[in-house]
Symmetry: C2
Subunit: 121 residues, 2 copies
C-alpha cells in the first residue's frame, strides 16, 4: 500500500472508481496506457488493503466489477485533493523547471558509468 500510495496508476484507478463501480477492461480503457498486468497488480494491491471490492458477476462472459470500499472512499478524498493540486500546479512547476533549465525528468541525477571502478578497499 505505502509503496503504491503515490503510484500514478493507483491514483488513476481510485479516481476512476470513485465515480462509479467499473469493470476491468473499461477501467483499463479509461485509465489509458496501463498494462493489463499492472492494472491487475494495482487492483489486487488495493483489494488486499481493503480499499477496493472485487465482485464477480456469474455471467457467460466473465464480468468482474470493482468498487471502492468505505475505506477506499475515505482515501479518495485526500488522494484526489493531492491529484488536483498536481494538475493545478503542474504548469507552475514546469515553468520553474524551464526557467532554471532543468529537464523535467531526473536525468541529471541518473547514474553515469563512465569508467572502470577502482578497487574498493
Amino acid at each position: 500500500m505505502l509503496g503504491r500510495m503515490g503510484d500514478k496508476w493507483t491514483i488513476m484507478t481510485i479516481a476512476m472508481l470513485v465515480q462509479r463501480p467499473t469493470r476491468f477492461n473499461e477501467l483499463k480503457r479509461m485509465i489509458g496506457g496501463i498494462s493489463q498486468q499492472m492494472l491487475t497488480r494495482t487492483l489486487r494491491s488495493l483489494e488486499g488493503d481493503g480499499l477496493v471490492l472485487r465482485k464477480v458477476h456469474p455471467s457467460v462472459p466473465p464480468q468482474v466489477e470493482y468498487s471502492l470500499t468505505p475505506l477506499g472512499q475515505s482515501l479518495a478524498q485526500p488522494l484526489l485533493a493531492l491529484g488536483t493540486w498536481v494538475m493545478d500546479n503542474m504548469g507552475a512547476i514546469q515553468s520553474h523547471r524551464e526557467q532554471i533549465g532543468t529537464p523535467p525528468v531526473d536525468e541529471n541525477l541518473a547514474q553515469g558509468v563512465r569508467h572502470r571502478p577502482r578497487q574498493r578497499g
Copy 2:
C-alpha cells in the same frame, strides 16, 4: 516531481520542512533512515520543482538551510492530509491484510523465475 510525489522520503521531507526551515543534517536526523544521497536527491528534486528553497549561509562550517517556498507550502496541505490518512488507517489496512492472510508486501506478486523461457516467436 510526479515520480517523487508519493515517495515517502518526499512526504517526510516536506513534513519536516513545513514546521520550520531546517539544515541538511538535522533534516537527515529528523527523517531518520534516509541516506545522505537520497536526501540530497529529494531536496534537489523539490528545489528544481520550485517547492523548496535552498539557502547557503556563508559561515565557517558550511550551513545550508532548506525551507518551503509558497508553492511548497501549498503542496504541504494536501500531501500531509494524505500522510495523515495513511497514519490513521494503517492499522485498519494491516488488520485487513492479516484477516485475508496476505503479507503486507507484494511477495505473492513477485516474479518467480523457475524455468527457462521458451523462444519468443
